[in-house]
Symmetry: C2
Subunit: 441 residues, 2 copies
C-alpha cells in the first residue's frame, strides 16, 4: 500500500486550509489532456484498477503523522483529522483500454473538496504512467501484424513501479508477454526469456554455452546467436537443435540482437529451413520501437517475434502526457480558470463515441453513441465489478481495431474529431465572460 504522503506538500496545506475555512462542500475534479503529444494520434486510458484499489485502502500511518508533525507547519487538529482519514468520495472513469482524445475527461473524482484535492498527485501519477505506456505499446501492437511481442524493458524503465506498470500496460495493449518476473507474479502476465551474452561468454565456446543451456531447458530454449559472429552462431544453434531433436525436443528459437537484422533474419531462416527446422522461431531485439518494427516487417524479413525494450518502456518519443486534474464543479456550480493558454471546460462532463468522432457534453446530456464514463467508486468503495487483465486486453485490442485506419498511423499526424456540445460551449462562454469580469460566479 502506498502512503498518502505520496503527494505534493500543497495538497496537504490546501486540505488544511479548506477545513480551517469551513469548506466542506463537494467538488468534482476531472483528469484530461488539452493536447495530445505531437507523436500521438490517440491515447489509451490505463491504470484504473490499481488506483481504485489504492483509494479503498488509503490511510496515513503513525509514521506518516509523526513525519508531518516534525515539519512544524500543521495544526494538531489537522493531524488528528488525518489519522482518521479515509477516502469517502465517488470516482467515474472510462474503462481501462479505451482510446481517448483532447478535452475528454478520462476520470472524475467527486468528494468533499479536501479529499478530492489530496488525491490529485497520486491519481495523476498512476494514470499517467499506465496510460503513457499503454498508448505507446498500442502503436507497437498496431504495426506488428500479429507477430509475438514481448516487453524486455525492465532494466531501463524509470524505477520499480514503472517496471511493473510497463509490463502490465504493454500486455493490456496487445503484447503477449514480459520478461519481468515480478509482473508475472503480481499481474499474471505470461513471462518469457532467452539467454544473455554473458552466459555465452562464460563458456569456452559458443556451442558449449548453447549446449549447456539446452541441457537444462530442452523445452524452452531460445538461443542468442550474435555474441561473436552471427551466421556462425546460427550454424552452431542448428547443431544444438539437432542434438535436441535426437533427445526428442525441439529448439524453440534463436534471437538476433545486433547488426543488420533484416539481412541476418533471412540468412538464418534459410539455414534453419535447410536443416529442416522450420519450427524454430526467429526473435529480434535491440533498440526496437514501432518505427523500427514497421521497417523490419516492411523489408520482408522473416521475423516471428520482437523483444521490445527501452524505447517503449520509457515511451521515448513522447516521455510524458500533459494530463491535468482540474476543479470543474464546486458545491454544485460549474467552475473554471482562465489562465492564459490553459483552456478548460467547466462542469461535470460525459464523452460520447459516435461513428468516427466523439462529443464531449455536460453530464446528463444525451447523444447517440456510447457514453464512455461510468461510476466505478461510490462513497469510497468500488461498486463496478472490474474486468480481469485478460478481459481488459481483449477490449483494448477490439477498441484499437475500431479506430479509423488513419488514426492508427504511426508517422502521420491525424487529428481525431472531438466536438464540444452546444450546451457545454455556451456554459464555457458565459463563465468566461463573468470570470474575466473578476469574480467566480
Amino acid at each position: 500500500m502506498v502512503s498518502p504522503l505520496f503527494t505534493d506538500l500543497y495538497q496537504l496545506t490546501m486540505m488544511c486550509a479548506y477545513l480551517e475555512n469551513g469548506k466542506k462542500e463537494r467538488a468534482a475534479f476531472e483528469l484530461f489532456v488539452r493536447e495530445l503529444p505531437e507523436k500521438r494520434n490517440y491515447l489509451v486510458f490505463a491504470g484504473l484498477e490499481e488506483v481504485l484499489k489504492a483509494l479503498e485502502e488509503f490511510h496515513f500511518s503513525k509514521d506518516d503523522i509523526d513525519y508531518l508533525f516534525s515539519l512544524k507547519i500543521f495544526p494538531d487538529w489537522f493531524l488528528d483529522y488525518l489519522k482518521e482519514f479515509s477516502f469517502s468520495g465517488d470516482v467515474y472513469a472510462m474503462d481501462e483500454g479505451t482510446p481517448f482524445f483532447q478535452y475528454e475527461p478520462v476520470l472524475r473524482v467527486e468528494a468533499p473538496i479536501a479529499e478530492a484535492q489530496l488525491l490529485e498527485t497520486f491519481v495523476m501519477n498512476q494514470i499517467h504512467i499506465s496510460s503513457l505506456i499503454a498508448s505507446k505499446a498500442a502503436r507497437v501492437y498496431s504495426v506488428a501484424e500479429g507477430r509475438v511481442l514481448a516487453d524486455f524493458s525492465l532494466r531501463r524503465t524509470h524505477g520499480i513501479d514503472a517496471g511493473l506498470k510497463v509490463a502490465r500496460s504493454c500486455y493490456l495493449a496487445g503484447f503477449d508477454a514480459t520478461s519481468n518476473v515480478l509482473a508475472g507474479k503480481i499481474y499474471g502476465v505470461p513471462v518469457v526469456g532467452t539467454v544473455a551474452h554473458s552466459f555465452i561468454m562464460s563458456f569456452e565456446s559458443e556451442e558449449e554455452a548453447f549446449r549447456a543451456y539446452a541441457k537444462v531447458f530442452p523445452n524452452n530454449t531460445v538461443l542468442l546467436v550474435d555474441t561473436y559472429d552471427t551466421v556462425e552462431g546460427v550454424k552452431k544453434a542448428i547443431e544444438v537443435g539437432e542434438e535436441l531433436l535426437k533427445r526428442g525436443f525441439r529448439l524453440k528459437g534463436i534471437r538476433l540482437d545486433s547488426g543488420n537484422v533484416e539481412e541476418l533474419a533471412k540468412i538464418a531462416r534459410r539455414l534453419l529451413d535447410e536443416a529442416g527446422m522450420d519450427y524454430v522461431k526467429i526473435i529480434v531485439s535491440g533498440g526496437l520501437d514501432e518505427y523500427r518494427i514497421k521497417e523490419i516487417i516492411s523489408s520482408g524479413a522473416p521475423v516471428d517475434g520482437f523483444g521490445v525494450g527501452t524505447k517503449v518502456g520509457t515511451s521515448a518519443d513522447a516521455p510524458y502526457i500533459d494530463f491535468v486534474y482540474k476543479l470543474v464543479e464546486f458545491d454544485g456550480q460549474p467552475v473554471m480558470k482562465t489562465s492564459s493558454g490553459k483552456k478548460m471546460y467547466p462542469g461535470r462532463k460525459q464523452v460520447f463515441r459516435l461513428e468516427g468522432y466523439d462529443v464531449v457534453s455536460l453530464w446528463g446530456e444525451q447523444f447517440d453513441g456510447k457514453p464512455l464514463l461510468k461510476q466505478f467508486m461510490k462513497d469510497g468503495r468500488v461498486v463496478e465489478s472490474l474486468p480481469s487483465l485478460n478481459e481488459v486486453r481483449e477490449y483494448t485490442i477490439e477498441q484499437l481495431h475500431s479506430l479509423p485506419e488513419s488514426v492508427l498511423s504511426i508517422d502521420r499526424k491525424v487529428n481525431y474529431r472531438v466536438d464540444i456540445s452546444d450546451s457545454l460551449n455556451r456554459l464555457y462562454k458565459e463563465l468566461r465572460e463573468r470570470l474575466l469580469g473578476g469574480s467566480r460566479s
Copy 2:
C-alpha cells in the same frame, strides 16, 4: 524491500543453467555506457546507496518461490537454492554524485557468476533512473545561477519509485527542495509548496482565497496569482500581504504559472517593490527545464526561484541512458563479446580523473590523478561508510564546478576526453583477434 523477482526471467534461467553445469566461478560485471545521450555532455552517477542497502537484504519470499514453482520451468533443487539465497559478492563503484563519461565503469559486481547475473536487471534499473535524473537536474542547477530550485514533478514521474528517486536525485544534484512529501519523509529532502488553481477557484473571489490560505499559514504563504488575470492577481496578493504585515507576518512569495512570465515577473516585482514588499519572492513554474530557465534568466526577469516539473522528472529530452552491464572477467580471465556495433573493453577496470580528461585503465594500473572506483561491498556487506544525502549533494556540486566550463554547456555538444590506457587497448586487440578466430580464450 524489493523482491528479487524484480528481474528478467532469463536471469533466473541462466542462474539455473550455470549451477546445473557446475559453473561456480567468480565473474565480474561492469556497468557503463558506450555513448552519452546526444543532449548530454556528462552524466552524474547516482542511486548507489539504495542499491547497496537492497543487496544486503535481497532474498526470495515463500510467495516468490511458490510463484516460480507455478511456472513449471525450474527444477526443485534450484528453488531450494533460491530459498536460501543471499548475495555474497563484492561491489565496487564511483561515489554518488561523480560525473562520468563513455566507457567508464561506474559500478562493478564481483561474485559467483550465478549471483552476479541475477543482479543485472535490478542494479541497472535502479542506477539508471537515479543517474538519469541526477544528470538532467545537474544541467538545471548549472544554469540557475544560485536561484532556488524545487522539484515539482511528482504528478508526471513514471510511477511511485520514480517519484521518490527523482526527488532524491534532483536534491543530490543541487536542487533545494521537493514538493514530494514522501521523499521528505524517506530521504529528509526539504519539502515546499505553494497553492493550486483549484484552491483559488473554490472561493467566491481570488482575494478571498488568498486571505483564507494566509490565515492558516501566515509564515509560509506563496500565492498563485494567475488563475484569472495575473496582474490583478498580483495586486490582490499585495493587499493580502499588507493584511499579513498588520498581523506581524510577511508574505513569502507569489507564483507565476502561465503567460509571458518574463514580462509578468518584471511587472510583479515593480508592483511588489512599490508596495514596500521587496522581501516577497517571485517563483515561476510551468513547463520549465534548463533551456527555458536559461532563457528566463537571460531576459533579466527578476525571478527568485523555479518550480521545475515534468520535463526534468522524466528527463524529457533524453528519457533514458543506454547503460549496459557486461561480463568483463570470468574465473580470473578477461572476456568480451564482439557483437557488431557494440564495442566493449575486457577485464576489470579503474578510471582516473586527471586535469580535464580521464583515463580508463586495467584494475591495478596507476596513473596520476584520482581513482574513481572503490570497494563499497565485500562478501555481501557494505564495508565503506556511506555519506549522508547532504554530503553527497555537496560533493556533487563541487564536482560540477570542477568540470571544464565547455562541458557544462547545455546547448553545445562537447566530447570530454576519455583515454583508454595502452595496456587496456592491447588486451582489447589481442582478445578481439582471438575471438573472431572463434573461441573465447
